[in-house]
Amino acid sequence: MKTVDARGCACPEPVMMTREAMNEDPSHIEVLVSETCAVENITRFASHFGYAIQSKPEGEDTRLILTK
């Protein structure tokens, strides 16, 4: 499992960081983001590659759990 902290990163860095994590461990990635648009972008990107996506609020932020 690989965890990515993309909080406070501008577009499109959260998606790029997620992609890099997918290259390291494609089966299970967790991404912590602070922006709704990052949640949307990562969800769109990950679902395109066949990931199941769970989203959990974590304080002011959101944890996205990507598995396949």
Binding site: A10, C11, E13, M17, E20
Partner: protein, 352 residues
């Protein structure tokens, strides 16, 4: 297709509102232009003294407040900032200087293209090339570092200040400069402009509409989501102009444009490159500033400063073409973007 619907609707709405604003009095192919409008605001605030381009454009007020109100309603108003603010200020200056050499931000570039202005096609190729340079930087780890939570005051400062200044232009107009001739004197009625800005600001907040993001995401991820918005905007504007008999295909004699191809290309290349480094085009920066992003707010203030410099020092083009000072500014701007790019290759785990 369903997931693209919000951004397609936003593009179409921007197209309709832009056509309406021109019909109600805005300069031709200038229903919206973030660079030109910030330039006019700079003139109105007497930060630059070019008499034809001074007007406190209510569209900008509407964009900021529309994004602010909708983000508050949707609980997406998040004051945040601190991601290289001074660098962003300077990037904002460079982007607007490039835009004023071309004579339009990426949004007006599409509106010009939709009016048949083929100089904008040259600009679009330059813009895409500039976005490509930004993508190269991102792929090699470019980052302006993280933003952090800020106070509500920090997040709401720029939209509030803009609203107060706008009210002052209504209560005490003699404090401000207003063009009596030229593009600055051409505008729709204040409340129409404000309403147009509010509608577009709200919709762009919801859909994350961005001119640079579409090309960028297409290049990096083969994700064409945002491009659907630009495409729908272009289609609506072309059809609208054809229906109203305003579509005029060609290079020569286009409204508020010049035919200097090289500088149309290079000016917009600067805008594309700078926009990717900033994380979005001038419209997107305006919307983010409305959502409480103080990094985008400082970028907007940089754009106002850049617009003032452009007109005070003769960098902005006119219908007769780019100026010598403008050409030098594009060269200097490119060097600044190169330096910013090379110094900020710091994101961990990047591909290169």
């Amino acid at each position: 297709m369903k997931k693209h619907l919000p951004v397609i609707l936003t593009g179409a709405t921007i197209g309709v509102v832009a056509l309406a604003l021109v019909a109600f009095g805005n300069p031709a192919n200038m229903g919206f232009c973030i660079a030109c409008f910030l330039r006019d605001i700079a003139g109105s605030l007497k930060l630059q003294s070019a008499a034809p381009v001074q007007y406190f454009r209510p569209e900008i007020v509407g964009l900021l407040l529309g994004a602010l109100v909708i983000s508050l309603l949707k609980r997406e108003f998040k004051p945040r900032g601190g991601s290289s603010p001074v660098t962003r200020f300077i990037l904002g200056m460079v982007v607007v200087m490039g835009a004023l050499v071309f004579l339009g931000c990426p949004l007006r570039m599409l509106l010009r293209l939709g009016g048949g202005d083929l100089n904008a096609l040259v600009g679009l190729v330059g813009f895409a090339a500039g976005v490509g340079l930004g993508v190269l930087a991102l792929n090699r780890g470019f980052s302006l570092k993280r933003a952090y939570a800020q106070t509500a005051l920090e997040g709401a400062a720029l939209p509030s200040l803009t609203a107060v200044l706008f009210l002052l232009t209504l209560i005490a107009p003699t404090l401000f400069a207003f063009s009596t001739d030229g593009p600055g004197a051409k505008h729709a009625a204040i409340w129409i402009s404000l309403a147009g800005g509010l509608i577009v600001g709200g919709m762009a907040q919801r859909s994350r509409f961005c001119m640079a993001g579409g090309i960028r995401d297409g290049m990096i991820f083969k994700d064409f989501h945002l491009l659907w918005g630009s495409l729908s905007l272009l289609v609506v504007v072309v059809v609208g102009n054809l229906l109203m008999g305003k579509f005029k295909l060609g290079f020569a004699d286009q409204p508020i444009a010049h035919t200097d191809g090289l500088w149309n290309f290079l000016g917009m290349a600067l805008v594309g490159w700078g926009s990717v480094l900033l994380g979005g085009c001038p419209l997107r920066q305006t919307i983010l500033a409305g959502e409480g992003n103080s990094d985008s707010a400082i970028t907007l203030i940089g754009m106002v400063a850049g617009a003032a410099v452009s007109h005070n020092f003769g960098l902005a083009s006119s219908a007769s073409g780019a100026t010598l000072n403008g050409k030098i500014a594009v060269g200097v701007g490119a060097l600044i973007l190169l330096a910013v790019t090379l110094i900020n290759m710091n994101r961990k785990g990047a591909n290169a």
